[in-house]
């Protein structure tokens, strides 16, 4: 059975794609490992989630290589090799997460064409509203051309822990332009910065912390969009 493909896309850089990709890959791998038919048989190459890093900076790839989060492996790809990498990953993993460069590029088109779910991280600013619209437009056109339904959601990223009016205003701006949004947000947290150094997911570093709760909420919503059973 073809594993679901989750793509993190945006035509703009610096919106939190890689942070969100790392958080979701590790969180969803944890959930997959809790499912009885995915228990690790002791294999060193326990590959529940395979991340394909199509960003030339390879930040996600390096973080996974460094932290070795359980059940997560990473490969690198570019516009030319992405489709082959997805095909190969489909044979090994239960979920594929594709992290993309922050621009309109060939890898982004192919990833959107293949994905079941495209998440579009965006910060609370008008620049990001505009870029999210562009990205959402690409996903819609890819869906039309491939005759598939590709679910896409905007995820507000780097939002302050204390609620600020600008975030609510941005939510309205996205909604007014018809962009479907996730209710969970990727918040601005020190734990996410720390994660880039350690390569360790927040639920492993501080299971009771706010960052772990944030990732859990994101995981719940993404799992629901993927049609997975509720975490529990």
């Amino acid at each position: 059975m073809q594993p679901p493909i989750l793509a993190l896309a945006s035509t703009k850089g610096g919106v939190g794609k890689t942070t969100l990709a790392f958080c979701l890959a590790t969180e969803l791998a944890r959930r997959l490992s809790d499912m009885s038919d995915n228990r690790n048989d002791g294999s060193p190459d326990n590959r529940l989630v395979e991340c394909i890093d199509a960003d030339p900076n390879q930040t996600l790839y390096q973080a996974i290589r460094r932290g070795k989060p359980p059940g997560v492996r990473a490969e690198v790809a570019n516009g030319e090799t992405l489709l082959t990498a997805v095909t190969e990953a489909s044979r090994r993993a239960k979920l594929i997460v594709i992290d993309l460069e922050g621009s309109a590029n060939q890898a982004m088109l192919y990833a959107c064409g293949k994905a079941n779910l495209v998440l579009i991280p965006a910060q609370a600013s008008l620049f990001d509203v505009v870029e999210a619209m562009k990205t959402y437009g690409v996903v819609e056109q890819a869906a039309d051309l491939t005759q598939r339904e590709i679910v896409a959601r905007v995820v507000l990223s780097r939002t302050p822990v204390l609620k600020q009016r600008v975030v609510e205003h941005s939510r309205k701006q996205f909604a007014e332009r018809g962009l479907p949004m996730m209710s969970a947000e990727l918040m601005e947290r020190t734990a996410f910065r720390l994660m880039t150094y350690t390569g360790t997911p927040p639920w492993e570093d501080d299971p009771e912390g706010g960052a772990a709760a944030n990732v859990n909420a994101l995981g719940d919503e993404v799992a629901s969009l993927l049609g997975w059973p509720a975490n529990g």
């Binding site: 493909i5 590029n105 088109l109 064409g113 079941n116 890819a142 869906a143 051309l145 491939t146 339904e149």
Partner: protein
């Protein structure tokens, strides 16, 4: 044909590429044209000849009359004699002498 959620149709990678090509043409920035190829001179190597003094003088005088270097003159002569001298080998990138005064 109705779209089906969470179902990858049996599209080959090549099919997918072809279907997405109109979108690629629309949204991807145009690839920049390759830079024009710059002519390349053949690699040069020094050789030494012992020629009669009169011949050396004549080479220098003919080159001066034509306002070209002695090397260029020699290359012209060699090319006319059937040696493999390319036109790029006549490119002289040396700086012009400064005007005095």
């Amino acid at each position: 044909m109705a779209k089906r959620p969470f179902d990858i149709p049996s599209l080959t990678d090549e099919d997918l590429r072809q279907r997405l090509q109109p979108l690629a043409d629309k949204v991807l920035p145009n690839k920049p044209a390759p830079p024009p190829s710059t002519p390349k001179k053949s690699r040069r190597k020094g050789m030494e000849f012992m020629l009669p003094e009169a011949v050396c003088l004549e080479i220098k005088m003919r080159a001066a009359r034509k306002e070209i270097s002695a090397t260029t003159l020699m290359l012209q002569i060699l090319r006319d004699a059937g040696f493999p001298v390319e036109s790029n080998d006549f490119i002289d990138l040396r700086k012009l002498p400064r005007k005095s005064g």
